[in-house]
């Protein structure tokens, strides 16, 4: 009963973390997941995706979800 967390690019370097698993208990939103990996408030530019789709920090999460945090994308 866990949530997989991925962090990419500069954000991963800042947090010193690229991937982790959190116990799903008491994690109701993406914000809760963020609070589980960082004591700091997320920069306004940080994006969140739940199961590979863009979401909000207020979006619901559940056990088995993959939640990703990353800085503005810079592809192309």
């Amino acid at each position: 009963m866990s949530i997989k967390v991925l962090i990419f690019a500069s954000l991963s370097e800042q947090l010193g973390l690229s991937e982790t698993e959190l116990a799903a208990d008491n994690l109701h939103t993406a914000q809760d997941v963020w609070n589980g990996i960082s004591q700091q408030t997320a920069d306004a530019a940080v994006r969140v995706a739940i199961n590979q789709e863009y979401a909000q920090f207020s979006s619901a999460v559940k056990s088995g979800d993959e939640v990703a945090f990353f800085p503005p994308v810079t592809g192309g």
């Binding site: 991925l6 990419f8 690019a9 500069s10 370097e13 530019a45 995706a49 590979q52 789709e53 863009y54 993959e66 990703a68 990353f70 800085p71 503005p72 994308v73 810079t74 592809g75 192309g76």
Partner: protein, 149 residues
């Protein structure tokens, strides 16, 4: 639609020729029915924000990249009178003058191809989960955000 992610050098014109041939041979694009194709080729430059860039690293979020590029092409195919669309994007270590991205759109008439090609590129730049790390004389730095064009 056709989506490629490549960790090897992309020859943009060979890729375009092959993408079209593949879409035709699979029946996804009917030969003789498209009158227009608009393409965009993004290439690595050797400078950015007044600094010389020696090399660059492109990382991505593989499973989301695939989904998001599919979403982007699906939206273009739904919104515009286009027949087919394709994307290839480079990942890994790249050097100046390497091809970073190619977008191709096929349609009966030119306006739809032009509009869809441009919108796909904008969507890719703003939504596809790729990140660039530039290696300059002064060390490595993550690109903070994409230019407006």
């Amino acid at each position: 639609m056709l989506i490629d992610i490549s960790d090897k050098a992309i020859d943009p014109w060979q890729w375009l020729a092959r993408a079209q041939a593949q879409l035709i041979s699979s029946g996804a694009l009917k030969q003789h029915r498209f009158g227009a194709s608009a393409n965009f080729i993004g290439t690595m430059r050797d400078f950015n924000d007044d600094q010389t860039i020696q090399a660059m690293e492109l990382v991505h979020y593989p499973s989301m990249t695939k989904k998001e590029l599919e979403n982007i092409l699906h939206e273009a195919l739904t919104k515009h009178a286009i027949l087919q669309a394709a994307i290839t994007h480079r990942i890994g270590k790249v050097s100046p003058s390497d091809t970073l991205v190619v977008v191709a759109v096929w349609s009966a008439h030119r306006n739809a191809a032009f509009e869809a090609c441009r919108e796909i590129m904008e969507a890719l730049k703003h939504r596809a989960p790729f990140w660039k790390k530039e290696h300059t004389d002064k060390g490595a730095r993550w690109v903070a955000k994409n230019t407006q064009g």
